[in-house]
Amino acid sequence: MGIERKTSGLIFRAVLGCSLIYFLLIVFALVYYNLHLISDDLRHSITIQAYLEKSVQNADVQKIESEMWRIPGVSEVRFINKEEALSVLKEAFGEKVFEGLKSNPLPASFEIKLDRNHLGWENIHRAAEYIKRISGVKEVDYGGDLLKKIDKIVRVGTLVGVVLLALISLAVVAVVINASQLLYYKDSFKLGIMEMLGATDFYLSGPLIIKGALIGGVSSIIAIILSIGSFMGLGKSISDVEFLPPQILILLVVWGVIWGAFGGYSGFRSGKRSGFHIESKHD
């Protein structure tokens, strides 16, 4: 009874430790995921505006357009003539603002969009630089600085995420190894007898691998429930924040089970190395 209570206490503490670690991982994943969503939104809204020289004739417009389609990743090229540009402005600021104008000062332009796979800063920057060199193009605008900053934030976030994931996996494995070792020592007499009777390592380590997998799996589920509860509890104050999609949550549980099982097996190995043998003391 006493030993059973000690075992359940040990497993409970391991689950608690791993749950807190996973909770921290989920909080970070939530921040990173939303940062990614924001950056994706921004990237999708980004277009390259190529303003043309006033001297460009209609025949040249065709040439410029076909030149633009040669850029890798271009998904849309739309010509905006001077009149359309002015009407867009009028729509935005009202007719009155433009009443005194004798002629249309706005240049004709092209609006260029890249496909999903080419929305990074480097691709857009490269495309913009190419467009700048096309004869007849006077100026190119694409919000490059903003895009560069977003890309940098996402890259740093990814790097931090990878490091954090590695550290958290290590922490989970360490907690599970520790718990498995203690479970192993508790059962070392029994395991020693089984080994003496011809049990394989696979047979002996099975229960610890299962316990490790359960600790990892249950901890991740608890952390998910805890984070969903906290997310719902915060309610309106974070209404713009999106929760992690189910696929990522399932992945987290699978991750927990795999690392937990690995921890269980490692606990068995290190427990065995430090010796559970029930050596005879008499001679």
Partner: protein, 223 residues
């Protein structure tokens, strides 16, 4: 069945416990290794069980050799050999039946046929009435009989026993010796370490005395 060929073994640097020891146990024999405390009886049994390996020389037991023993072979060896200890090494929270059945369960293909084998060995040894008891409810002699049943249930070629009567009273010790004798008559080779050679007065037993790292056969009057 067992051959120790020019065995050299020491726990630490310095004087070896065994210095080129050669020793053989033929199949079907009941060999007693007797000697005082710390003479090396258990070390010799540990060498025969491949728990420890010699510094030099070769230990060959039941077709397995210290030259090429590995984890997989060791498991296979343990399934072909039975071990009995002074402290019984029974699992307290298991019944007598489960303690004996454990020897077959760890082989991962426990079935109804093997369950019958457990009943049979308990009946053969005469402890089937104890099958639902737990070790705490048994006397020392009964515990050792359970340990013997567990060692025998897998039908081993060889039984090794380390001081099996060491923690029993004289009467229980004699009962265990008689039981082991019966098992040996059935064809199982037995090697037993004991500090108490008096229990093995019968001519059936081949007794060796271990001292100063050497084994000397004890020759009895009329034998």
């Amino acid at each position: 069945m067992i051959k120790l060929d020019k065995i050299k073994f020491s726990y630490r640097k310095g004087k070896p416990l065994f210095d080129y020891l050669t020793f053989e146990v033929p199949k079907g024999e009941f060999t007693i290794i007797s000697g005082s405390s710390r003479s090396g009886k258990t070390t010799l049994l540990n060498l025969m069980q491949f728990k420890i390996l010699p510094d030099d020389g070769v230990v060959s037991v039941a077709g397995f050799s210290s030259d090429n023993i590995n984890r997989k072979k060791l498991t296979s060896f343990r399934r072909k050999t039975g071990f009995i200890f002074q402290d019984f090494r029974l699992i307290d929270e298991m019944t007598v039946f489960d303690n004996v059945a454990l020897a077959l369960k760890v082989r991962e293909n426990y079935n109804s046929q093997q369950k019958k084998a457990v009943y049979k060995v308990l009946a053969d040894i005469g402890i089937d009435y104890l099958m639902h008891s737990v070790p705490a409810e048994l006397s020392g002699g009964e515990k050792q009989k359970v340990a013997i049943a567990r060692a025998l249930v897998g039908k081993p070629l060889l039984l090794m026993a380390d001081e099996p009567t060491g923690s029993l009273d004289i009467q229980a010790g004699r009962e265990i010796v008689e039981l082991l004798k019966r098992i040996n008559i059935g064809g199982t080779t037995i090697v037993l370490a004991s500090h108490n050679a008096e229990l093995f007065a019968d001519n059936r037993f081949i007794i060796y005395n271990i001292s100063d790292g050497g084994l000397k056969r004890v020759v009895r009057n009329g034998h």
